[in-house]
Symmetry: C2
Subunit: 333 residues, 2 copies
């Protein structure tokens, strides 16, 4: 990081004039231990799972959309597919907990831990063992792609998952649901009230589990794709690779990862500030500044993919720009 | 634009969940008259010129840096070269008013209108005829590249040009210099005072010209690269092509272009919000929302280049995403 900072100061531009990009290039040097980390292998891990709480009217979309969207991912028609093509990333689609029998597909990683979670308003979403297995699935998705992964991008699909994520964020941060619960896919005022009730209920009924620590909390009020992304983030950090964190759901995963392993936040890059209400507070807790603020609230890894070219640009600027000496340009007078 | 909006509503995502990107895709359809405008030919017009006011201690860098940086552009070592390579854009470097004899170079457009401007604190920077010729140079740079330009990105190089731009912005908006003048390349408090004095002096000594309208104002307190970029923006708009506006200097050019031809602002995309003090006010006047906010203050077209992948993504998302019907995904319940 010292070397990267020193080089930034010698490049042919006023010091600091590339703002956040300079800071990012220095952080990337710290994460990877090199000034020119390879970033060719960018993999979006888009993990899909269902949520018991979806039956309680917390989403604008019916539950079967989770499975339908997985098929859309596999056919390349979803937003994340388009963006991955645009930025030169690859999408790994994983069924970690969809409540449907998905047909085998060469591009689908079938790693179902269970068919959806139980409703967080009535008890724990899953057992602690299931949460740990889901984390391990996320880790192994990164490990099995290991040589091809220079940077991991997080993505999610799961009808109902902004409700579970909001509950998880409230449980981990102590924030009131009113400050965290947003409209997700776009629920109306009635739907928002149901989401708030669901989160409040989940926090109450699962209070005992929440007191036992982050993995118990994840099992109690989280979700299978949320747990899987915890594993993706931890595996990236363990491999000294940057993890580009998508939006609200990925932010909940990042909070769990940081609670389990505080050093992991050093490997996180916040891609964007989501439209979803509590996301700003999540980023503050993680000490991360988002690269983009485009009013996104789609998930899938779309924000991470949109931010990836900025990450790649940061590394290339540090390495490919001429220094004042090389270019024969006069430095500050 | 209606067709683009209607298609956005049918794509497999909650309506509005791509935020600013959706709005951008609709604007691009309006600009170009098609939902799938080609964006392969992205050209950064990086125009360089010197400023008489630079002799008055308003920059942290000596004046000869303008010419030195042009040579750096031609060798591919500057930030804009790196970013153009990263995003797949081409850089057209033009000497529209550098106060030096630059050696001929195949990649340099030698279109000097005059060797630098006179100091804006003592009278007009240039004559109205020179300003008009500089605008015409900018137009012809776009026209000569015409079939290869799908989108024009603006860029600048000129020691002293944040001072001229600040004066121009104050003159066109009526804003007080205290709200517009920033630290540019990074001047200290003394330098900032000198910049403020220079801008106040320029506005006073050129008050008569400023009262005569935007071209006289441009000639009085602007600069040759600023005038050239006015032409670049106007030519893009006339060709129904989007112009991605870089930062503070390009913003001053955009204000002049919009004052000359109000419809031109419909073709402008604001790439980023600069660290430079008055830039936010410029964007407000133009009615533009910046895509990025990365604390940049480098110029050259760097912000425009960083924003270009987002523009390209907006078009690809609109055209390549599957609709609910195509994908067999259930819409809102």
């Amino acid at each position: 990081m010292r070397q990267a900072s020193a080089r930034q100061a010698r490049l042919t531009k006023p010091a600091g004039s590339l703002g956040v990009i300079e800071h990012l290039s220095v952080r990337l040097a710290g994460m990877t231990g090199r000034m020119d980390p390879p970033l060719r292998g960018a993999v979006v891990f888009t993990l899909a799972a269902d949520h018991g709480v979806a039956a309680e009217g917390v989403s604008a979309y019916p539950r079967e959309v989770t499975a339908q969207m997985v098929l859309n991912f596999l056919r390349g028609g979803a937003a994340i597919n388009v963006l991955a093509r645009e930025v030169g990333a690859r999408v790994v689609v994983a069924d970690i907990g969809v409540d449907a029998d998905l047909p085998p597909h060469s591009a689908l990683r079938a790693v179902k831990v269970r068919r959806g979670t139980d409703s967080i308003t009535r008890g724990p979403a899953m057992t602690v063992d299931e949460a740990e297995r889901a984390i391990e699935v996320g880790r192994s998705l990164v490990r099995e792609q290991a040589p091809a992964v220079d940077v991991a991008l997080t993505g999610d699909m799961g009808i109902g998952n902004t409700t579970a994520s909001a509950a998880l964020i409230c449980a981990l941060t102590g924030l009131e649901p009113e400050l965290v619960v947003g409209r997700g896919t776009g629920v109306d005022d009635e739907g928002l009230r149901r989401k708030l009730d669901a989160v409040r209920g989940a926090l109450q009924v699962n209070a005992g589990s929440i007191a036992r620590g982050p993995i118990d909390t994840l099992a109690a009020v989280g979700g299978l794709e949320i747990a899987g992304l915890v594993g993706v983030i931890l595996a990236a950090a363990e491999g000294r690779k940057p993890a580009i964190i998508d939006g609200f759901i990925s932010g909940a995963s990042a909070l769990v990862a940081a609670a389990m392993e505080p050093a992991a936040s050093g490997y996180m890059i916040a891609s964007h500030r989501s439209q979803e209400l509590g996301h700003g507070a999540v980023l503050d807790r993680l000490g991360l500044h988002p690269l983009l603020d485009l009013d996104l609230r789609l998930g899938e890894g779309t924000g991470a993919a949109l931010a990836f070219p900025i990450v790649r640009a940061a590394v290339r600027l540090l390495n490919e720009m001429a220094t004042f000496d090389e270019a024969g340009v006069s430095d500050r007078s």
